[in-house]
């Protein structure tokens, strides 16, 4: 071995010396821990861009508590283990609040780190279990699936008199959590599940899945997949000429799906927590600003992040301090209206578990546009 031994050790030392250390500045640090590469990159980019837009506005208006806000992006690579490391890094770097991530599987792992350090985390995740784990520092920015599914199933059962449904879902934390809530709700209303088809994250070919759904002869098809898979799924549905109506929850009618799948999305109906096309002046104004700056249409993740940024501003200003513990205490049981803070585009309440409550929408995609059919009141 001889000098063979020295080389790697020297390199090891040289490289490790460069590891970043905690540093503190007099700006207010907010960490954006989000999916910027891997399967979640499309939704993560929406989130990051909207967050950047919001904090630029906040900084231009004088920042929070007289301090400028410094937002740092941490890429989770859509990987739970990496996301955990990134939350740790964000906290080491001195973040007061963590924004993100969106993928439920990542949030489940990294929320423990934020909890251990007493740092509030505003997540975009929608799987039901997130707020059931007794973590006093986690807050949603949109509905958990256990809240949105009952609204959708009520619509299917009462307005459309659907008797049987074929379900397609993605086999990860997000998909399985949503599928379990949806199917549970169907059973309560005695609606039959004619087919129950799971697919993989990143799956490219949906031919076999669609054949199963098609031959199930259900009254309606319900799909709960991530955005890119939703686009591929809908294209295959149209290719095979499936005639049953297709329903979804939030992701299926997402702007990204419309961009990717084009005409195949037309006619798809479902429930969304947030929509850039909602008949609410604040949201439409935000959508305009966003599109002017980034040259693409924002999806619900962008609206979530934008509102999340203003939640941070409102709560810290209300508290008169950036203290993380005070932040978490105040946000539990808080209701913020657009009159209190215009950046909160719709009146929103948080309960003692960090669950969100606000109006939501039934939408249909027409000519590549999400069209709001009706507004559903707060639960």
């Amino acid at each position: 071995m001889k000098s063979k031994t020295i080389a790697p050790l020297a390199i090891a030392l040289a490289l490790s010396a460069g590891l970043p250390n905690a540093s503190w500045a007099d700006t207010l640090k907010i960490a954006d821990v989000i999916e910027l590469s891997g399967a979640g990159a499309t939704v993560g980019a929406n989130w990051r861009d909207a967050l950047k837009l919001a904090f630029e506005e906040i900084n231009a208006a004088g920042g929070i508590l007289g301090q400028q806000v410094e937002v740092t992006d941490y890429d989770t690579q859509t990987d739970p283990t990496t996301s955990r490391a990134m939350v740790q890094k964000a906290i080491d770097d001195g973040a007061y609040v963590i924004m993100g991530p969106i993928y439920s599987g990542s949030v489940k792992v990294n929320m423990m780190v934020a909890q251990q350090n007493g740092i509030p985390q505003l997540t975009g995740a929608e799987a039901p279990f997130i707020t059931d784990m007794g973590n006093p520092y986690i807050f949603r920015t949109s509905f958990g699936a256990q809240q949105s599914m009952p609204k959708l199933v009520k619509y299917l059962a009462e307005d459309l008199k659907v008797k049987s449904v074929a379900v397609a879902w993605v086999n990860d934390d997000f998909g399985k959590g949503g599928r379990d809530s949806f199917v549970g709700e169907l059973e309560r209303r005695n609606i039959a599940v004619n087919a129950d088809v799971s697919s993989e994250v990143g799956q490219a070919d949906f031919a076999a899945d669609v054949i199963k759904l098609k031959s199930s002869n259900a009254d309606a098809v319900f799909a709960y997949l991530h955005e890119e898979e939703s686009a591929r799924f809908l294209k295959e549905m149209r290719k095979q000429g499936v005639t049953q109506p297709i329903f979804g929850e939030t992701t299926l009618m997402n702007q990204k799906v419309v961009d990717l799948a084009g005409d195949a999305v037309n006619g798809v109906r479902g429930h969304v927590g947030l929509s850039a096309n909602a008949p609410i002046p604040g949201i439409q104004e935000f959508a305009k600003k966003f599109e002017a700056k980034y040259n693409y249409k924002p999806d619900h993740n962008a609206i979530k992040a934008y509102m999340g940024a203003y939640v941070v501003k409102y709560v810290m200003t209300k508290n008169g301090t950036a203290d993380p513990q005070a932040f978490a205490d105040t946000l539990h049981g808080l209701t913020i209206t657009p009159a209190d803070e215009p950046g909160i585009l719709m009146e929103t309440s948080w309960d003692d578990k960090g669950e969100v409550n606000r109006d939501s929408f039934l939408v249909e995609v027409k000519d590549g546009q999400q069209t709001v059919v009706s507004t559903l009141p707060k639960l």
């Binding site: 001889k2 020295i6 790697p8 090891a12 590891l19 250390n21 283990t81 792992v109 399985k176």
Partner: protein, 323 residues
Amino acid sequence: MSTRTSFSLVAGLAILILLPFTQSNYGVFVLSSWMVYSIAAMGLNLTLGYAGQVSLAQASFMGIGAYTTALMTMAGIPWPLAMLAAMVLCFVIGLLLGYPALRVQHHFLAFVTLAFNALVVLVLRNEEWLTGGTYGVVGIPRPEILGLPTQKPLAFYFFVLALFMLTAAALYGIIRSPWGRAFRALRENPIRANSLGVDIRKTTLLAFAIGSACGGLAGGLVAQLTQFIDPNSFGLTISLKVLLMVIVGGAGFFFGPILGALLIVLAPEFLRFTEGYYLMLYAALVIVLMVFCPSGLLGLVERARTALKLRQNPNATTWEAGR
């Protein structure tokens, strides 16, 4: 071992002991995961670097080890027993898989091991009663050693460091033993090794099984490090990542996988300033390295050293200079 070698080893150990004190929790986490992946990569190096067989199943052994350790410790079984069971299980599965699989070699073996990895991920996901399915296992306890908890990042770092040193020492011993020499003879020239009385089949199988047991140990440590495991943490991409560590560092060099793991784990850190481009840069770096130096970074060092010696002593043969 020369004085110089012993000195650099002691210096290296001193660095590893002192370094975490200068780091934030995140830095300690990164260093711990570097050592964990080094253990997995050293195991694979035995199969790939010394016995010359491409295996794409290292992540599946990490998975088996991780779930065994997690489920057993969460059921109240002491961690030394759980981790030992994980290693033994991986060793046995390595033997069972290797026995039929090692009838085929090179890219055929790569395919067989690839299929095995996919199979393990599916079993982990579908056997919900045991593994928790897609949701994985959360809240895996970190070990307690003689009453000392390792819940804090720094304490757990030293636990990992101790196991890392033990594994490295054990593997160093194996490579220097008659078995290890047989592994290398096999890689250099299987026919000649066979004619000298080395049982090709048995030796390769043993290398594969020991490498798998290392994977099991690394998996157990991953479970305790992140305190969360799910089937996707042990997919094919992780197998490829471990394979990349071995190849980038230098397959067949003892310190190759350790250096490779360091680069692969730390590269995102150093390339982060490039923001959205770092994955592209990272990929480009790997391609450049593989084109110009297929024997990895330590291969590059060795080549430079040989060239230097040849210049100093033009009458020596390449073989003599390379010694």
